[in-house]
Each structure stands twice: as structure tokens, then as C-alpha cells.
């Protein structure tokens, strides 16, 4: 019996993009269902009753929620090709640590950068640069965080790059100037097919951010 894989997602969500990339990397046939976040489907509410959020991976009727948990699940089930996590327990713990850092820090500093004003925004800029410099340090001389091929941390982090045009415009920041190694890594990632075909382009996300700012009076 063939596997039935469904992804409940929202096109602009960096968290959703992570799961899309993992599915693409493993070549997993799946059905993509776009959710209207202002009018969540009964399926979403049934499959993620605790958080009611996307992304939700549904595999043969069973739901897996939280993007990094879904990516690990994908890595463990479809384990014949393209491993995303290293096999050594210590290396795995470090990959999990940095992916968790992306969750704890990167989403927040990015959000603050394009939604805050004045002093708060200045503080957000500083934090944004610091966080990305730390990631540059962790990357070191590697091609990807995963080494020669993309891994768990690359998958966790690259989606946020699609939001950079908005971060730079509204945050008044030139990321390439501040963190050139980070941008070089991001551009390398965008050359990887499973990533480029799974994420929207920066212009489309920028348009979305413009709409949000209008809607919430952030201008």
C-alpha cells in the first residue's frame, strides 16, 4: 500500500518551508494543502488540536506537529537517502542545539526587526546582526552547516532568508554588509534544488510583508 503524505501549510511560513524542503530532499510524494490562517480547516483543527498551527505533516492518517519534529520524523522514516541528521550522537546533539537556536532566536529577532520602530528597532537590528554573526561562527569554513551537503540546521535556517528583502527594507539594514558569510551560505543553499523549489522568492514574501504592515498599521 502506498504511503499517504499530506502537508498542511501556509506558503509564506518559514516553518512550513522546512518540512517542504525535507520532503523534497527525500523525494517524498505528497499532497500540499494551503491553509487560510484566518479560517482554519476542520482537518487542521483535528490534526493539531493543541496548537492549531501549521505546518502539520499527516502520514497515513497520523499527524506530526512542530516543524523540527516533523523534519526529524521524515529523516527517520525515509532513511535510505539524504540523511539530514548526522549519525554520531554528539554531532546530532549539536545539530539539534543550533536548529533550536534558530527557533528561539532567529524568528524573534527577524520579527522584531520589521515590526518595531525607533529605539526598539535599533535594538532589534543589533540583536539580528549578533545572532547571524554567531551562526557565521558556527558555520566556519563549511559549505553548509551539514558539511558537504545540507543538513538539519540548513533546513531549519534557510527559510528565513526568504524574508530578508522585507527585513532589509523595513529594518533599514544591509545584511550582506554586516554578515557576508551568512549571505554567501544562503546563496549556496538557494542553488540546492530541494530548497529552491520549496520556498517562495523574496519578492513575493516582501509583498506579503507590505500587506501585513498595512493591515496592522505598522508603517
Amino acid at each position: 500500500m502506498a504511503d499517504e503524505v499530506i502537508l498542511l501549510d501556509y506558503w509564506a511560513s518559514p516553518f512550513g518551508m522546512r518540512v517542504r524542503i525535507a520532503l523534497a530532499e527525500k523525494g517524498i510524494k505528497h499532497e500540499y494543502k494551503e491553509e487560510d490562517l484566518r479560517n482554519k480547516s476542520p482537518l487542521l483543527l483535528q490534526m493539531n488540536p493543541v496548537h492549531k498551527k501549521i505546518p502539520v505533516l499527516i502520514h497515513n492518517g497520523k499527524s506530526i506537529c512542530e516543524s523540527l519534529i516533523a523534519v526529524q520524523y521524515i529523516d527517520e522514516v525515509w532513511n535510505e537517502k539524504s540523511p539530514l541528521l548526522p549519525s554520531d550522537p554528539y554531532q546530532r546533539s549539536q545539530a539539534r542545539f543550533w536548529a533550536d537556536y534558530v527557533d528561539k532566536k532567529i524568528y524573534e529577532v527577524g520579527k522584531n526587526l520589521w515590526t518595531k520602530k525607533g529605539e526598539e528597532q535599533e535594538a532589534a537590528k543589533k540583536e539580528f546582526v549578533e545572532a547571524h554573526k554567531l551562526l557565521e561562527q558556527e558555520l566556519g569554513d563549511k559549505t553548509y552547516f551539514g558539511g558537504d551537503k545540507i543538513g538539519f540546521v540548513d533546513v531549519a535556517l534557510i527559510p528565513f532568508y526568504t524574508w530578508f528583502k522585507g527585513y532589509e527594507t523595513f529594518g533599514n539594514i544591509n545584511v550582506e554588509k554586516e554578515c557576508p558569510k551568512f549571505i554567501a551560505w544562503a546563496k549556496r543553499c538557494m542553488q540546492v534544488e530541494s530548497i529552491s523549489k520549496s520556498v517562495p522568492d523574496q519578492d513575493k514574501v516582501y509583498g506579503f510583508m507590505v500587506e501585513i504592515r498595512k493591515k496592522f498599521g505598522l508603517e
Binding site: 493543541v50 496548537h51 519534529i69 522514516v77
Partner: protein, 220 residues
Amino acid sequence: MATANQEEVRLLGKWASPFSNRIDLALKLKGVPYKYFEENLANKSDDLLKYNPVYKKVPILVHNGNPIAESLIILEYIDETWKNNPLLSEDPYERALARFWSKTLDDKILSAIWNACWSDEKGREKAVEEALEALKILEDEIKDKKFFGGETLGLVDIAANFIGYWVYILQEIAGLELLTLEKFPKVYKWSQEFINHPVIKEGLPPRDELFAFFKASASK
């Protein structure tokens, strides 16, 4: 018994912290000998700053000189390194569920209860409402299982140590009734199984001392 390849396992922790305690419990469940160092968070050791420069927090596990930070990440490392008494199932779906519940405990449930216990009069009503909602989520999940992991203690049970033990102390100090037999019979029953588990019982910090510690914090 020392051998040429003696493994060195060190835990930098804080005795009153449930996050730090999680690691004690896991190491004890696996029978892993380790050295414990109590950190004074007002005067962090050089080792702490060296081993966790990103967050500068405990717990930190140092295994043969290699540091791991963040309690849930440390727990998975311990489970993958010492394979006896597994904390996680081999089945990927069960593993995903265990990770989900551990994360939900950390992201949503623990903070709701903690906030309620430390809330001031102004925020109290809302905070208590959120704490009760959080406990309801757990009540619905535990159902009639002996442990969150099923018949045996697992990752989620360890991650829920705050619920099994700390909550009773904190709610008493705050003068609240959040987790009670009447309100959440299943979670209450689970908590009794948890604290009476032979290894857990020995691994939790002493109640009186924990009570005194948090009572003192409450008076500040």
C-alpha cells in the same frame, strides 16, 4: 572501577531547577556514574561560560570534554549514548509524539503554571485560567496510561518532572489550587506514580529544602 578509557560525565546544574533535575533523573535511570557541580548563577563558573557561551545557563552535560546544553537535547543525547532503559521508543511516530509533548511542556504548559504561581493580583485570574487550560491538555493526553511513555517511564515523564513535583510546592506557596485530585485526577494519579518510582524518588531534590528555597524567593 577506573579503566584506561574511563568515561568522564559531568553535570553542571542547579539543585532547585527542574531542568537540571531532568538530567539527574535520566543519568540515574540509566545507571551512568557522573560528577555533579552546583553552579552559583550569581557567579557563573569559567566552565559554565566556556561550555555554554550561547545561553550561559544550566544544565550542561559534559561527556569526555564535549559539552551539550538545553535539557531536552541533553536527554536525547543521553538516550542515544547509553542504550539501556530507553527513554524513547524505536518507532518514529512514537518518538515524534514524545518530542511533541516534551516541547509542548516546555513551550506552553510549564510557563503557564509558573506564571500563575508567581502572578500578582492584577494578572492572577487570567494566569490561573491559562494554567488550568494547560493542565487540561495534559489530562486529555495522559488518559489511562500509567506513564506518558506507557507502561514504563520515558522522555515525556522526565520532562514533566515540574508537573509531578514542583507544581505542588509552588502552588502551596502561592496559595493556589491548580493540580488537585478533584480537578485533574489523571494527572494527579500520574504524579503519584512518578514520584514513587524507585529511581525518581531518590533523584528528586528534598521537598522541605525546595519549599524553603521557593518560599524565600517569594518573599523577595
